[in-house]
Amino acid sequence: MSPRDLNCEEVIERLFDYLDRELDHQQTADIEWHLSRCRDCFTRAEFEKRLRARVAASGTVKAPPRLYRRIVSLLDRFDDDEPGMSR
């Protein structure tokens, strides 16, 4: 499988599909081949990757301790009322 030449417009058009891993092997190889040779598109891809990583990191936030205590209490209640679940 050899990569096909894409122009910059085609690469930018598919960039988010590439970053979201929505492309097949051939399409991924095509994009990566272009990125390895085009500084402008590579820079753009790196920028979007960095921003995407920051968005992904926003999904981790210190959970309030009371939430875990509440969950433990709910599980205890569930177990107490469920035959065979009591510890």
Partner: protein, 235 residues
């Protein structure tokens, strides 16, 4: 009725509903204590991600706590159905997502004020293909580094969260499902019951709108001056 008593009542209702789940034989444990320890050992390290994901989806800390609590008890009730223990994390996050979507649909079906921006048609908002990169990128080196680096170095996580939270619900949910939770477009289409093309258009608009908000924040913080001042170019 106070919020606490409402939550207790709600919790009781779904605890009763969950007890109807029939047991399976896939996961086996020595006894109830072992089952509970196994579950809690895996749950505890996920709490920050569960809460953070729920917070990005709901935007509200109280709602996020409710969604996480409900999802965890659902998972506990269905633990015997978990076929591959190695997939516990993904399985639990999937339950969290479905719990949020059920609640979100319930809220959307309630009558709301016409002026509520979150219920406006997501296709009605013009995000016009804005890209932050085009605002920041300059094809030459600056003596202090690139504006992209400057942007990322000064971007606080709170500012990013704030920008995400200002996105209308359909956009925010799409981008959180894909970029935070790692769902494929097809999975998002199935989860939300919308065509694949709508997933794509919502993602495109979500990204443009998010980047526009981040650019506005960066400009407010002085990035515009740096961008306009091209005198910093290396000789």
């Amino acid at each position: 009725m106070t919020r606490t008593s409402q939550l207790t009542l709600t919790s009781t209702v779904w605890l009763v509903a969950l007890r109807r789940v029939e047991p399976g034989d896939v996961m086996t444990f020595r006894d109830a204590t072992h089952r509970r320890q196994w579950f809690e050992q895996r749950l505890e390290p996920l709490m920050d991600r569960l809460f953070g994901t729920a917070l990005r989806l709901t935007r509200n800390p109280d709602d996020a706590e409710d969604i996480v609590a409900e999802a965890v008890v659902r998972a506990w009730a269905r633990l015997d159905k978990l076929r591959d223990p190695e997939r516990f994390d993904a399985w639990l996050f999937h339950i969290l997502t479905n719990t949020f979507i059920s609640e979100w649909r319930r809220q959307q079906s309630r009558p709301r004020a016409a002026a509520d921006s979150d219920t406006a048609s997501p296709d009605a908002i013009d995000a016009d293909g804005f890209t932050l990169f085009q605002q920041l990128h300059q094809p030459f080196l600056l003596w202090w580094g690139s504006l992209e680096d400057q942007f990322f170095n000064s971007l606080l996580q709170e500012e990013l969260q704030e920008a995400l939270d200002t996105l209308p619900d359909p956009y925010r949910v799409a981008i959180v499902l894909v970029e935070v939770q790692g769902y494929t477009y097809e999975e998002v289409s199935g989860l939300l019951g919308i065509p694949l093309g709508t997933v794509r258009s919502r993602l495109n608009r979500a990204r443009s709108l998010l980047q526009k908000r981040l650019w506005q924040q960066a400009r407010d913080a002085g990035m515009a001056a740096g961008h306009a001042d091209k005198g910093g170019q290396k000789p």
